[in-house]
Amino acid sequence: MIDAKPFFSDSKSSATGAGVPDLQIIALSVAATDGLPKADLEQVAKESVKEIIDALTKAVPTVTAPQAPSQPKRAEVLSYAGKDYAEAIANMEKFFLTNRWGDGLPIIPPTEEAVEEMLKGTDLPRDHVVGIIDPRKGIGTVEKIAINAVMAGARPAYMPVIITAVQAMTDPAFDLYGVQCTGGLTAPLLILSGPIIKDLDVNFTYSTAGPGWRANSTIGRAIRLILINLGQAWPGINDMKDVGNPAKVGILIGENEVQTPSGWPTLREQEGFPKSASTVSVYASLSYRQIGCIYGDPLDYIAGNMKTALNSQADQWGEEVVVVFSPTNAEIVAKNGYTPDKIRQVLFEKGRVTRKYFGPRPLGTVAIAHAIPKWIDDLPDDGLVPTVPKVEDIKVFVAGGRGPGCGFFIDRWGFGQSHFLTKEIKLPPNWNDLLKNLQGWETPVEVK
């Protein structure tokens, strides 16, 4: 296997994770080959030939197969000493930072007592496996999820959301392996819909995507810590995003059902769940583009953003896109007779780009994504291509406060493999007790 130099550790990690640790991997002397002058490509090829011949002809010592665990073990106890607890915590934090176990922010120590308290947030057994977390295939037990939730500063009542989000992200349709390891600048976005938003004091109004609320900030952060500690993805080792994404810190937004225009179905209803349910959606978000309405028709703005996004990332065509209307945007378009279904239809028609943005023909030999079907390849250069494969791939809902009318168009990542997924959140029987314990942890929201 031949890969660019910075990707050597990523390839090695993938080979080991796939059970082929002896796979011979040759690191090229350059960071990338696309765009290199001919003389450089000739040089890179010539200097790799000897290594290739050696890799195919010289004996390789065999790796002894480790025993796969038949049952997840209880978490190991780790001890940190200090002259007082502040110093012991500082020593723990230093250890975590040195070993790449944290996200760089201070962490709450996951003591046995704190983890026991967090486990009250679920009725699932401690050793229940919620999912296998890519890329290193960490076993995502309820206990390990709870430990990382404690570290993030989450409350026990947030556990049902965190567990459901992990379930969604480990669904093969989300392509967590790709999300974690890609060089593309993606980060999981969580969207909550339903009565749980009020229950957990999730900010669904002004700056729902920003800091200030315990639930929004720590649920998102818990997911990031789970991805780090259970998936064991790390920048520059097996997470190859050139500059990353601010949303990697952890992002959760709440649907603003209170100010959703009457007659508009909620996000969860659009995704096939009853109105009484609470759901969490996961989405491999890429870029967050502001949509406005103060200078004209917001649908024109959104369609323009869709085109711009597709022009620059045509190879990402195969996934859903997300349109977050602020209540102001929603109110205006609703008064003009639009519903989410009609909005989708308009955007599907207006947000088209021409075939030429998909690159030279035939797509099969040069395009990254075979998710791009042949009918697109067959179009003339000026033939129009919608921004998504199907009308229903445009996700529309209301979030945020009533400002001047600035929502989001959130672009996708995934090469046709990572899909927007919504799962229903199951509440444990002690839900009311958990909510009682949330008293005092609220930050007021402004609904205007």
Binding site: M1, I2, D3, F7, S11, A18, D22, Q24, A32, T33, D34, L36, K38, L41, V44, A45, K46, V49, I52, L56, T57, V63, A65, P66, A68, P69, K73, E76, L78, S79, A81, G82, K83, D84, Y85, E87, A88, I89, N91, P110, T111, V115, I132, K137, G138, G140, K144, I147, N148, M151, N229, L230, Q232, T365, V366, I368, A369, F415, G416, Q417
Partner: protein
Amino acid sequence: MRRKWFRSSLVALMLTVGLLIISNAPTAAQVTLNILSPRGEIFAPPIKAISARLSSLEGKKIGILNNSKAGANALQPYLEEALKQAIPKIELRTWGIPFNVYPDKEKDLKALADWSDAVIGILGD
């Protein structure tokens, strides 16, 4: 003289007591914080051995697995040329098999494996 002896003894006693107090003073590392490890146990898949190495590449059929990304496409022709120069009797054949959605992936991978004495994968971005 006796008074002097008494004073010396008293000083010695006080020093001894002082030393005992110091030796029993709290050490710097007195508090221990116990936590549970956040790291996930890794699900270890069954290990698959790689194929036996070839004695030489002369006259061998070498399949090239190109992941269809731009970087791999850019390097592939130069790599083929360099291999042919190093081993004139080598036989090369390329399969462009993308890493993502691709309905014929399994079929193409099998064809590549069936045809080849050995495979070189080119990963590009």
